[in-house]
Amino acid sequence: MQRIGVFVCHCGSNIAATVDVKRVVECARLEPGVVFAEDYQYMCSEAGQMKIADAIKREGLTGVVVCSCSPRMHEATFRKCAEGAGLNPYMLEIANIREQCSWIHKDMETATEKAVVLMRAAVAKVNLNVPLKSGESRVTKRALVIGGGIAGIQTALDIAEAGYEVDIVEKTPSIGGRMAQLDKTFPTLDCSACILTPKMVEAAAHEKIRIFTYSEVEKVTGFVGDFTVDIRKKARSVDIDKCTGCGVCQEKCPSKTAKSEFNRGLSKRSAIYTPFAQAVPNVPVIDREHCIKFKTGKCGVCSKVCPAGAIDYEMRDEIITEKYGAIVAATGFDMISLDKYDEYAYKKSPDVITSLELERIMNAAGPTGGHLERLSDGKPPKNIVFIQCVGSRCADKRGKSYCSKICCMYTAKHAMLIRDKYPDTNVTVFYIDVRTPGKNFDEFYRRAVEEYHVNYIKGQVGKVLPQPDGTLLVQGADIIDGRQVLINADMVVLAAAIEPDPTARKLATMLTASIDTNGFLTEAHPKLRPVESPTAGIFLSGVCQGPKDIPETVSQAGAAAVKVIGLLSKDKLLTNPCTAKADELMCNGCSACANVCPYGAISYEDREVRGIGVREVRRVAVVNGALCQGCGACTVACPSGAMDLFGFSNRQITAEVDAICR
């Protein structure tokens, strides 16, 4: 039997004005298990807390009920107080007689009656409480960053700067990501490469950072503080240690038919290649699909010309297994496929391009050497039409319901750059809305309109029709003037929606991190925990969590890094003791609980089970306390009631029900 103390708070007049606290105290004294009850002006005050602490010691209390404000307010306060007095903090429960009683009821009689019932329910629960102890788990002081774009690089650098080891896994041959493909960045118009490449180099050179390019995460097990990850290093066919990055192999390679991924397929590359000149590491890979040696067995030119003898056709995929304390997802984005947008003639005309393709065209290292020209005939375009929200804010299934966020700004950038460099080019932008919330963003957009005279038309484009003369007839609507607009354009640029990188979905499954309907990784709380996944130890950096621009990405990358650092700085993690646990003797091993666990916290083991008249090996559910977050989904899925939740046990809740209903 417990020895319970009940403490009723007046909360000044907040409670006492509507609840007869003395009567609550009197009723409490009659409850089974209650050995002490008193009331006080402000239980949360130092003097109030002293009363609780003193009573715990003096009366030898084994349980405490505080009738006061919401547990969301002061449960932690009172539990800490109880702990200070030598009582297990989980032996204390709150009866919420303020928010759920005194504040909503006017009649003293009614409110008091309800307060007594709430007190009884809390007492009934405490009668069944058991001391709980947080478990401890160790922390591996190394972080894994998945994705080597600006988000991943920044996160890795920040973590490394704090002194922790960090590995970056990047699936392409070089880090750099989307930002490396950009020409200029808004709203400052500084060169993307100029600000990114130093960071890439810094990351590569950092003694705490290891970079696995051309690699993918294969398997993740474990939990916060103690993940085990298998990384597949795809066969590069070039020895990274021997290669000097001289580039001879790429020059001499006879197979030059592959489309350059980096240039969005607008140019060709050799079968042995680095994606771009500033690649980190500056070590090529052999694209085995296009390599003549791999296809026919004959060739081997690269091997012959390599002065360092770095070419290794025999190289195989390698699996590296490493332990990590935290994992950051920074898988970034891609543009949606425009296959279903026939009306814009993207597939039909080479002069209808996406914004990212325009970035490459405008870039000095791009397919046209930085000259703005039509891909069909190489002529400079005189009329360019930009179409916004292609697949963004889209009501139908072809596109995305969300705003891709960056398109308004980069289109303003493109328009401005074109007007600046080629003043005789007409630039028209069709838009639904122009959204420019960001530091210096609206000013930037205004400049495009006012200084550079970019022709912004509010309205959508219905059709782009390639004309026999090679021009493109753009049929749009101007909804402000309420008229149809026909433009003969030389080039049409589509601001295609961005979507999470396709690998994110698979990764989310591996990490048991949740994703939303659009495939973006979900944050633990949209406002208060925006860089954490609901799955402990998994953090989110960059566009994998939702559309964002570079400054936002970098700040989120930093924020994720801080969370990781905070985690890695601990030697041990305290686990939430209100976790589920299966009674081995009753467990059927049926897997129903594991099927509903959102955290992958339940596994099955063949264990020897011992009980009265029982001694056999059975398949039983085992809950990993470090992973379990205590939602209780498993407890209801379990038909036998073998699975129960500490702190909210079946018997505790039943007792509360009984106490309320009697």
Binding site: S70, W103, I104, P534, C578, P598, C631, G632, L645, E656
Partner: protein, 153 residues
């Protein structure tokens, strides 16, 4: 030979509905707190039990409440998609849809059970829901079809 008892003859006291509300810790309990701090009243007949997630609510608890004389049971959780534990309320939704349908099937008035999604920001909705639900229960009257009469002793 079934031992059957009929409902107690009208007790002298006026009948007041007894309503059990299970609220998830993260959204609905906070919503109830907000209703409180906004002084949005609802009947004292509603008594809240805090659970970590609506998916913690076992049908056993609901039937137990009815057995012990509750006249109505309401379960409140985060809106679908907003569950603190990502998926808990989706399971609640299925479980309760089936359970409520079954209760309806055996002839229990289907207004006695309810699931409502209430976010931490919806204090007003919480209060309105509880007012509405209590009114519904009042109109249905005392629960005689599910109660175990012994608990009234």
């Amino acid at each position: 030979m079934q031992i059957e008892k009929t409902a107690h003859a009208a007790e002298n006291k006026e009948w007041k509905p007894m309503i059990v509300a299970f609220c998830c810790n993260w959204c609905s309990y906070a919503g109830a707190d907000l209703a409180g701090s906004s002084r949005l009243s609802y009947p004292a007949d509603v008594k809240i039990i805090r659970v970590p997630c609506s998916c913690r609510v076992n049908p056993m608890f609901i039937l137990r409440a009815f057995e012990r004389g509750a006249d109505g049971v309401i379960i409140c959780g985060c809106h679908p998609g907003d569950c603190h534990y990502t998926t808990g309320n989706y399971y609640t939704r299925r479980r309760m849809a089936l359970l409520f349908s079954m209760l309806d099937f055996i002839g229990v008035e289907n207004g006695r059970t309810r699931v409502e999604w209430v976010s931490a920001a919806e204090g007003a909705k919480f209060s309105a829901t509880m007012n509405e639900f209590t009114a519904k229960i009042r109109s249905l009257g005392e629960n005689v079809r599910l109660g175990d009469l012994r608990c009234r002793n």
